[in-house]
Every structure is written in C-alpha cells, then in structure tokens.
C-alpha cells in the first residue's frame, strides 16, 4: 500500500482507489434512490426524468404513472446496488483485515488526552485556519484522529443499514419487526450522511486537495507535503 518513489509517496494503493471509486458510485446511487423512498415530496423532481420514459415503456400514462414507475425503479435499483455495495465492502474489508493493512485506527491507540488535543488542534486548523502545534503535528500519521472517529461512525452506520436492509429484503418479518428495521435503516442512513458531510468537508478543504488529487490520480502525494501533514506516517515508512 505504501512505497516511497523518488519525491512522491504512495498513500492510496490501486485496490484502495478502485474500492473507493466503487463506493463513491454505489453510495451516490443509494443516497439518491434512498432519498426518493424516504421523502418523495422533496425529491420527486429526481424521479420524473426517468419515471416518465419508464411509465411510457410500461404502458402507463406518463402523467399518473411517472411516480409509480420511477419510484419502483428507484426501489429496485436501491436493492440491487445495496447488494453490490455489500459485496464490495465485504471483499475489500476481508482483504485489508487478512493482509494486515488496516491503518485507520492506529491513532486510536494514543491516550485519550492526546487524542482530544489532536482533535481540538485539527478543528481549529480546519475551521479557523490556525497552525497545528508542532508537538501535535509530529504525532499525526496517515490518518488523523478525526478521520479515525469518522470512519468508526461510518462502520457503525454501514452495519446498521446493511443488516436492516438484508432483514427487510430477505427475512419474513412481522410488521413490528419491519417497522423496527426501517427505523434502524433510517438511523444508519443519517449516521452515514454525517460521515459523508465530514468526509467531503475534509477532502475539499484547501489543506487536503493534494490528497483528493492522489485518490483520483496515481495514489501518490509529494513527499514534502506528506512530511508536513503526516510526519508520523513518513517516519514509520522511513523506519520500515
């Protein structure tokens, strides 16, 4: 996953970038189709562009059948993409766990007081543009403490939506169980959305544009930048 090449250092392997891109596509489709099912009055405008042609194809009146056909299509797509997303996550998670490549939670081994100091300094840096004190900066690895906690949030949300989703689609539930699963699915969705807002904020922040380019490019960042932003990670690579 990581190898120093000339003046660049790899921060995202090919498998990571492929999985990330697949995740991006799947989550985007799942969010759009999910929002349609969750709150149609707000998101009906998304349905019409494909609902009208689908209704015509199905022999329904485009005026009255657009919503029926469009939402049905969104519901089926939501289920199919949900399965594909689940398979992608299971395959990639198994790969990184079995090959010992999980680095996301390294920072959580630090004492809680240090974690809080780091989080505080990061929030000030990202929101107010303050400088991160050198003693804190030296301890930042490939992923900072905020990224690690956001990822924990994501894992929690993904578990909630995937388990409840599987139960809704594949298990024969009583109405009461069905209600509970829908509630868990909704809560999981909001948790994932909170992660996404945080994630998108971080990657579009001027401090991290280089990371964004690397993720959708060759997976490498300039060494000098990495030394400044993730010194503990570079130190770890150097020792390795």
């Amino acid at each position: 996953m990581s190898s120093k090449v000339d003046d660049k250092v790899e921060i995202a392997s090919l498998s990571y970038r492929i999985t990330h891109t697949l995740n991006l596509i799947f989550i985007l489709i799942l969010i759009i189709t999910g929002l349609i099912l969750l709150a149609l009055p707000w998101f009906a405008w998304i349905v019409y562009p494909f609902g009208v042609p689908l209704a015509t194809l199905a022999g329904l009146s485009p005026e009255t059948g657009a919503i029926t056909a469009g939402v049905q299509f969104a519901r089926l797509l939501h289920r199919m993409i949900g399965i594909l997303w689940g398979v992608t996550i299971i395959v990639y998670a198994s790969y990184v766990v079995l090959t010992g490549r999980v680095m996301l939670f390294d920072t959580l081994r630090k004492p809680l007081r240090e974690q809080l100091r780091e989080a505080n300094a990061l929030v000030k840096a990202y929101v107010f543009g303050s400088e991160i004190p050198m003693d804190i900066k030296r301890g930042i690895g490939r992923h900072n403490v905020l990224a690690s906690y956001l990822t924990l949030l994501l894992i929690f949300g993904v578990l909630m939506v995937s388990l409840s989703g599987v139960a809704i689609v594949y298990l024969s539930l009583t109405p009461e169980q069905h209600r509970l699963m829908l509630l868990i699915h909704d809560i999981g969705f909001y948790i994932i959305m909170i992660f996404l807002v945080g994630h998108l904020f971080a990657v579009f922040h001027p401090k991290n544009v280089i990371l964004l380019n690397a993720m959708f490019g060759d997976g490498k960042v300039p060494l000098e930048w990495a030394k400044d932003e993730m010194p503990a990670y570079i130190e770890k690579l150097r020792k390795a």
């Binding site: 009055p41 049905q72 109405p175 009461e176 209600r179 829908l182 909704d186 909170i194 401090k207």
Partner: protein, 277 residues
C-alpha cells in the same frame, strides 16, 4: 412521507360497530368478499372459529372470535352456583379508516388516497409493493397479495358514492353496524358512553388524526377485555420515532452541509489570500 389532504375529522362518513349485538354469523365477511370480488380462502382447521386467522389480501373483513375467560353465576332456588366458563366474543374487523391515515402518508408513491367521504383506498395500479403502508399502520391492516401489491378494505367507497351502504353493513342481520355521517356517529358514541358502555375510536393519538371512522362500542366488561387485545392505544413507537427523525434529520443534514460549505468557502478565500502574500 407524502403530505396529504384528508377530509376534516368531523366531515365524511363513519360506522359505529356495536359488539354487543354481534352474533358472529360472518355474513359481513362473506358480503365483503362477494361485493369486492375477492377469491375465497379455503377454511383451515384451527383451534378457533376465526377463519382466516388474520386479514388477507383476499379477506378485507374478518370476524375474529376472542375467547375470554368468564365467570357465570346461576341463581338456584336455594343457592347460587358459580361457573368458570369461556365466553366467545365475535369482533368484526377491517381497516378502521383513520381520519389522517398513516398508511397514506407513508406510501412513497401516493397510491393510497383519501376519498371526500374519508374512505382510505389503495389504488392497486399505483402500488409498488414496498409495504411501507403495513409498516405504518397501527392496526396491521394492509396485506400483500400474490401480485406483490397491497390490499385492504375500501370502505366500499364505490357503494357509498352510489348512495349505498357498505356491503358488510347492508347484510348484518342484527344491525351491528350503523353507517352514518361522522357527526352523527360521534353523537351515537357519546350516548353510548353516557349509558355506561365503552367506545374505541374517538379520542386517539394524533398519529391517526385523533379518530378513526370505524368506531367500536361494547359493554364495559367486554370492552375492557376485547379492546386492548384488538386495538393498540399507543401507536407504534418506532413509527413515531421515524417521523420525528425524518422531520428533524433531513433539514438538519441540509443545515450541517450549508455550515460545512460556508466554512470551506472561507477556508479557500483564506488560502488564496495566504498564497498571494
């Protein structure tokens, strides 16, 4: 969640169901199937008279036979005998047609409509079979048919609009059902209360609009044992939480995104200025 316009709770039609008059003949159940062209369901052997065991896509009205433990006192000439026995109480049951039906609000495609009379009707051609109506219904009424769509009692809205009573009402030999306007039904129910009997359906949670259009009345003893078993007083908690969650969650997410966007814009402006310097 779909925003719907329901008739006012004091407008439209209603039915008062007097359980004390029901003899469990099931004429209403048969009339419902016959009028609505539902395929008959084969009777299955079971420990109760109830057949089928629950509402089905082809059984929109079912008479449930509630078996209650009862103590009967027989006055003899020189003594009094007390017998422990079982009392079978027939309860003709169908969609209660909530004044603000949660099923209609939950349907993501708006396939469940409220007629001007207050009948809550699933438009089968628009149903996508998601089951959100069943999940939202506090009485577990809508049922999935073999075609994947959901079905339930229509209040015989076709008959009502042709100035006829619902099929089940018209055949009852003991006049269990009083089909009338909502305002009149409320008056009947109030009178029943004054007579010391009990009423279900008038003062309910706002989740169902505070009232249902099938109002059940029964003697106190019967009501105390039948109503809790048949009708939940508190709506489904998970549904209430979902409603609150989505009312707060989506605007909250929008707000959070806007704040994040504003901070991002400021950060970029700051970064540009810093690079100029």
């Amino acid at each position: 969640m779909v925003k719907m316009k329901f008739p006012d709770m004091n407008e439209g039609v209603a039915v008062v169901v007097d359980l004390d008059k029901c003899i469990g003949c099931r004429a209403c159940q048969i009339a419902c199937q016959e009028w609505n062209g539902r395929t008959p369901i084969k009777t299955q052997f079971s420990p109760t008279f109830t057949n089928p065991q629950r509402l089905e896509a082809n059984a929109w009205k079912v008479v449930f036979f509630k078996e209650l433990q009862a103590t009967k006192r027989i006055a003899l000439q020189e003594a009094q005998a007390t017998l422990e026995t079982v009392e079978v109480v027939p309860v003709p049951y169908n969609c209660l047609h909530c004044v603000e039906a949660p099923c209609a609000k939950a349907c993501p495609v708006g396939a469940i409509k409220a007629s001007p009379e207050g009948a809550i009707v699933i438009e089968a051609s628009e149903c996508i079979g998601c089951g959100y109506c069943l999940a939202a219904c506090p009485y577990d009424v809508p049922r999935r048919g073999s075609d994947g769509k959901y079905y339930k009692c229509t209040f015989c809205v076709d008959r009502i609009q042709a100035k006829l009573e619902p099929a089940c009402v018209s055949v009852c030999p003991t006049e269990v059902f009083t089909f009338t306007s909502m305002s009149e039904a409320v008056k009947i129910a109030e009178k029943v209360k004054e007579d010391g009997r009990k009423v279900y359906g008038l003062s309910l949670d706002s989740y169902v609009g505070g009232r249902v259009r099938w109002i059940f009345v029964a003697s106190k003893d019967k009501a105390d044992r039948v109503f809790p078993a048949m009708f939940p007083e508190i709506p489904r908690n998970s549904n209430i939480i979902r409603e609150y969650l989505n009312n707060i969650g989506l605007p909250g997410l929008g707000l959070l995104s806007l704040i994040a966007l504003a901070i991002l814009v400021l950060s970029w402006i700051r970064a540009k200025r810093a690079s100029k310097h």
